[in-house]
C-alpha cells in the first residue's frame, strides 16, 4: 500500500493525509528535525460510496395460464344498448405446422397505457410459441405478414385490417378469432359479410378453424330468431341485409357478442345508412373491420368505418394528417408489393359461390331432366351424351338460361370494383365465347375488352394494346383456347377463372399470362366454383387426380381425355359406367 493511502476492512475507501516525509540523509551534515503538530490533528477523510445499496425493484405479477390473447384491457362496451410439445425436433412437422424460426411479437396497442398491461404483452412468448403451445396448427403455412396481421388483431378491441385484396384478410381474422375462442376470451363471434360471400366464409372457417361450430343466420323469421339466440355456436355468419332486417329482433333478444367482424367493411362508410346504423347497434366488446379499400372516395369513408371500430376516434373535420395519426394504431394496411418481395407469389382463392334461387332452380331442373334422359338411354348412353349434359349444367352455373341471373357475375363485379379502385388490372377466363360476350355487356363500366378465337388477329392485338396502355380498361375477357398461351400480360395482378377448364394444366397456362417473370407483383387467382353443382364435383375429382399422369387429360374433345376418365364422367351423375365397347 502506498504511503499515506490505506484501505480499511469493508467497502469504504479511506484516504489519510501523509504522516511523515522522507529527507535525503546525504543532503546535510546534521539532520534537521521537523516537528509536526500531531496532537489533535485529524486526517481529512473522504468516503466514496461503493456498491452496497441494492437498487429499487419494481414487481409485476401475472395470472397463471393467461396469455397475450387474453383480454387485459378493460372490456369496451359499444352500442345502445396441450400436452407437452416436442423438444424442438423439426421432424414430422407438416407444411402447415407453426414455424419455429419466425418470432412474431404481440405488441401492446397504443391505447393500453398502464405499465403493467403493456409489460404483460411485451413479456409474452412470440405468437408462434403461443400457437404451438395451444397445439393450433394451420392447414397451410401462413406467410409471415399474415402472422403479423394476427399479432395486430389479437390485442385490439377496435381494428381495421385493410390489406390489399388477396393477402388473406379472412384467414388472418379467422385464425385470430380462433385463438381468442381457445383462450376463452370469445364465446360469441359474429361475422357480417355481403350475401355472396357467406358460403366463402363458411368454407374458410372450415379450412382454418374446422373445430369451431359455425351457424349461418338464414331462413324465415322464426328460424332466424332461433339462430340469433343459439347459445352454443361460437361463430355466426350473417349478411348485411340480415343484420338490417333483424336489428330489432337482435335487440329484443338481448344478444351480445364478444367480437363482431365486418367483411367488406366499406359497406358502412356512409354513417347515415341503415346498414351502418344496424351494424353499430350490435352489442359487442371487440370490433374488427376488414376491407381492401378503407378509403374509396374520401377520407370520410374511414370516419364511417371508425364509427363501428372506435366511435369518436375520427371526425370529418380532421385534416388527412390528423386523421392518419389518430387512426394509425387501429389500422394495418399492407400491399402485395411490400409484403411479398420475391418473384411474384401466386395467391389462390377458391371462391365457392352459391347460385341465386332462380339459378339454382334452373340448374336443378336441367340436371334432373338430363340424368333422367341418360337413365332412359340405359347402356346406349355414351360419353358424348354425358359430356353434353356437363356442358349444359356448367353454362347454367355461369348464367341462368331462364332469367339471365348470375351469382358468379355478382361476385366478379364486387371484386372488380376493388381492383378498379386500386388502379389494377384483371384477366377473366371462360371456356365459352358466348359467356365472354355476356360479361362484356355486364362489365361495361370496367372497360371490359374481349380476346378470343372469334376475333381477327388485328382485333386481338388491338385489344391487348388498349388493355395494356389505357387506364380505363380494367379487365380483359379471354377464352382459354386463345388466351391461355403466348400472351405476356404480367402487368395484370388478378386472374379470374369464371368457369373451370377440364385440365388444371391449361388453367395454369392461363394464370401464367399474368403470373410470370416481370410481373409487377403478386398475382391473385380467383377460381369460381358454383356450390353444390357439377363444377364442384369435377373439381373434387380433378384435385384427387392432380398428381396422376397427364396422359389421361386432354384439352379438346371429350372421350379423348378430358381430364376425367369415362368412368369418372358417368360417376358425376351417379350413373354406372357404360359398357366398355360402347365407351370405346
Amino acid at each position: 500500500m502506498a504511503d499515506g493511502l490505506r484501505t480499511i476492512a469493508g467497502d469504504d475507501l479511506v484516504l489519510s493525509t501523509p504522516r511523515a516525509m522522507k529527507v535525503p540523509l546525504a543532503a546535510l551534515a546534521m539532520p534537521r528535525v521537523l516537528r509536526l503538530p500531531l496532537a489533535g490533528a485529524v486526517p481529512v477523510v473522504t468516503s466514496l460510496p461503493l456498491l452496497n445499496s441494492a437498487p429499487a425493484v419494481s414487481r409485476y405479477r401475472f395470472p397463471r395460464h393467461a396469455s397475450a390473447v387474453a383480454n387485459v384491457a378493460p372490456p369496451v362496451e359499444f352500442a345502445q344498448g396441450s400436452a407437452v410439445p416436442d423438444s424442438g425436433k423439426e421432424e414430422g412437422r407438416g407444411a402447415g405446422a407453426v414455424p419455429r424460426l419466425l418470432r412474431t411479437r404481440i405488441a401492446p396497442p397504443g391505447d393500453v397505457v398502464r405499465m403493467e398491461e403493456r409489460l404483460f404483452f411485451l413479456l409474452q412468448p412470440d405468437l408462434e410459441s403461443l400457437l404451438r403451445s395451444c397445439r393450433l396448427g394451420f392447414p397451410r403455412q401462413p406467410f409471415p405478414f399474415q402472422l403479423e396481421g394476427m399479432a395486430f388483431l389479437l390485442p385490439r378491441h377496435g381494428a381495421v385490417l385493410a390489406d390489399e385484396m388477396g393477402l388473406g384478410k379472412s384467414m388472418q381474422a379467422i385464425s385470430s378469432l380462433r385463438l381468442l375462442i381457445h383462450a376463452g376470451e370469445a364465446r360469441r363471434v359474429l361475422v357480417v359479410c355481403p350475401k355472396g360471400l357467406v358460403s366463402n366464409w363458411v368454407r374458410e372457417l372450415g379450412d382454418w378453424a374446422s373445430e369451431i361450430p359455425v351457424a349461418v343466420i338464414e331462413g324465415d323469421p322464426q328460424k332466424r330468431r332461433w339462430l340469433w339466440s343459439l347459445p352454443d355456436v361460437a361463430v355466426k355468419i350473417a349478411n348485411y341485409e340480415s343484420v338490417v332486417r333483424d336489428r330489432e329482433m337482435v335487440a329484443e333478444l338481448g344478444v351480445s357478442f364478444d367480437l363482431v367482424v365486418l367483411d367488406e367493411a366499406q359497406r358502412i362508410k356512409n354513417r347515415a345508412s341503415q346498414t351502418s346504423h344496424a351494424v353499430r347497434s350490435l352489442s359487442r366488446r371487440r370490433s374488427w373491420a376488414l376491407t381492401g379499400t378503407p378509403v374509396e372516395n374520401s377520407s370520410d369513408d374511414l370516419v364511417g368505418i371508425f364509427e363501428f371500430v372506435a366511435p369518436g376516434q375520427l371526425h370529418e373535420q380532421m385534416s388527412p394528417r390528423e386523421m392518419g395519426s389518430a387512426a394509425a394504431d387501429h389500422v394495418l394496411r399492407r400491399t402485395k408489393d411490400k409484403v411479398l418481395k420475391d418473384l411474384p407469389p401466386r395467391l389462390n382463392r377458391d371462391e365457392r359461390i352459391e347460385l341465386t334461387p332462380e339459378q339454382r332452380e334452373t340448374y336443378r331442373q336441367a340436371e334432373e331432366d338430363g340424368v333422367l334422359r341418360l337413365a332412359d338411354m340405359g347402356r346406349s348412353a355414351t360419353i358424348r351424351h354425358v359430356f353434353e349434359l356437363v356442358l349444359r349444367l356448367k353454362q347454367v352455373c355461369n348464367f341462368d338460361t331462364a332469367t339471365g341471373e348470375s351469382a358468379k357475375l355478382d361476385c366478379l363485379q364486387s371484386d372488380l370494383e376493388e381492383i378498379q379502385a386500386s388502379g389494377r388490372k384483371a384477366l377473366v377466363f371462360s371456356q365459352w365465347v358466348e359467356t365472354l360476350g355476356r360479361l362484356k355487356t355486364a362489365l361495361g363500366r370496367f372497360g371490359a375488352l374481349e380476346y378470343h378465337g372469334g376475333m381477327s388477329t388485328a382485333a386481338r392485338d388491338e385489344a391487348i394494346r388498349r388493355f395494356k396502355h389505357q387506364k380505363e380498361h380494367s379487365v380483359l375477357l379471354l377464352s382459354y383456347g386463345a388466351g391461355a398461351v403466348g400472351l405476356n400480360l404480367q402487368f395484370s395482378q388478378y386472374v379470374f377463372l369464371f368457369d373451370r377448364w377440364w385440365n388444371p394444366a391449361v388453367e395454369d397456362q392461363a394464370i401464367n399470362r399474368a403470373h410470370r417473370i416481370g410481373a409487377a407483383g403478386a398475382v391473385t387467382v380467383s377460381r369460381y366454383l358454383a356450390a353444390d353443382t357439377i363444377e364442384e364435383r369435377i373439381d373434387e375429382v380433378l384435385r384427387k387426380k392432380r398428381n396422376l399422369s397427364e396422359a389421361i387429360l386432354s384439352q379438346t374433345e371429350p372421350g379423348e381425355g378430358t381430364g376425367l376418365t369415362v368412368d369418372e364422367l358417368f360417376a358425376l351423375f351417379k350413373l354406372p359406367p357404360p359398357a366398355r365397347a360402347a365407351a370405346a
Binding site: 475507501l13 466514496l48 425493484v57 407437452v84 405499465m115 413479456l123
Partner: protein, 171 residues
Amino acid sequence: MQQQGNESSDPTFGFLTTVDSPTHGVFGGYLVVDAGGRPLEFHCTTPLKVSRAQQILYGATLQGHLHGRQIGAALLAEGGAAPVAVLIDSEAMLHVRSHTLLPVALVQRLSGEEGSGGFVIGGVTVTPTVTPGEKGDSQSLRRLLEILAGAVDLCEPFERIRSAIEEAQRH
C-alpha cells in the same frame, strides 16, 4: 437466500439478466415463466451507475459484484415462486450463485459441442452450475428444460426482458 428450486408438477423457470444503458446505467430484469413460456412474474431494478473510482477500485471484480450481488441477489430476493432453476445469459451473473440456493445455469447460443457439465437443447448450450456430486440434479434440470424448450427457445425470454426494460425506460 432463496429457497431451493421447486420441481413440482407445475414447474416454473427464472430468467435473469442485465441491460447496460449508456445513459442510465445497468438495469436488472428477472422474469419467471411457466412451462409454456408464459410470464408469471417480472421484476426489474432501477439503474445502477458505476463511477470511475468504483471501476478502478473494484477492478476485475466489478462485473461480478454488480451483476451477481447488487442486481441479481436483489431481484431473486423479490421472486415469489421458486423456479426449478435460474437461467442467466452472462458469466458475470454467475456470481449470483453465492446469494441463492436456487440452481443457476448459464445458457448461451453456441454452435459447438456440449461443454463439460453442460448439455445442448434446441441449439442452446446449458451449463448448470452444480457440483460434480449433483449430477442427478443436472439430469433432472435437463428434463425440465426440455419441456420449456418445446415451447420457447431458451435464449428468447432474455429478449423479452430487454424489451420490457426498454419499455420501462420510455415511461
